[in-house]
Symmetry: C2
Subunit: 138 residues, 2 copies
DNA sequence: TTCAATACGGATAAATTTATCCCTGTGGTT
DNA sequence: AACCACAGGGATAAATTTATCCGTATTGAA
């Protein structure tokens, strides 16, 4: 639910605004959680980080369908939202390690349940997803 | 994760294909659940339906930020994925009632937890979401 | 010297998702 | 007759999200 900040709008106050057209919904808990975890790879990233896979390169190996660039963007968003944080080792070659914040840890039980639910119902879910691709005529 | 079927591609076999460019990920439970519940209003719809708010008009009153059209689309997707089903009363004016399928019911405990998590951390979440809009210069 | 490994991100294109506009139909009410 | 309520969806525009391409930088190894 977050795009990269690519267009900025400098105002006279020295404040830079993100140019978003539609308001972000933040009425209820469901709105809020959507904002921070409904990204294509976010729950995967949180899961792998919770499993101790902490370095960007390792994360990418575990999510080969996504490019490094995209993972970086989503990692930055998770960091902005304070679900994860990272340690940057000041060395060459660079070394970075992500870890869950307390807030990030607190959501893992639910993400794990989501994953289990998906696994439990994988037969059904794959079937309905297949139907999206090939439909009976009309 | 699903668009409306607006462009169809009729093949010689009489099969109609949805023209999707990128493959749908369905490796693990997290992929699968994302496909069926990561829509802007889906968890809200499931929640309200689980609360007995079953008619389209009532759902729209409870989610005024979304248009009826958009809710219809997402309801259709939830129906396609068999998380909800509906009863169409054959009368005038029309009356329709949605209800959760067994599969839909089985996911509600997790969605309720998501909502509670969002409520519990609403202060934090609103704060980080605000930061997306106004940033310190540079 | 050239290449691999490490990590990061600008610019832009592509794809998908969401929103808007407007129309269909029936029966009851004003 | 004109309008309301009900529910639904086609066509298309807009917005957002995701992907691709390519560039930065440093150290060590072949």
């Amino acid at each position: 639910m977050v795009t990269e900040i690519c267009s900025l709008n400098n105002t006279e106050t020295g404040i830079i605004m993100y140019e978003r057209k539609l308001p972000i919904q933040e009425e209820c808990g469901l709105d809020l959680i959507r904002e921070v975890v409904f990204g294509k790879w976010k729950i995967h990233l949180l899961y792998y980080i919770s499993q101790g896979i902490s370095r960007p390169g390792q994360l990418q190996k575990n999510i080969p369908e996504a490019s490094r660039r995209v993972l970086n963007i989503q990692l930055n968003q998770l960091e902005d939202d304070e679900l994860v944080a990272k340690t940057v080792y000041n060395q060459q070659p660079p070394k970075v390690e992500y870890y869950l914040t307390d807030l990030g840890k607190s959501i893992m039980p639910i993400i794990n349940e989501l994953g289990r639910w998906g696994d439990t119902h994988s037969g059904h879910l794959r079937r309905v997803i297949k139907k999206r691709l090939i439909l009976p005529e009309a």
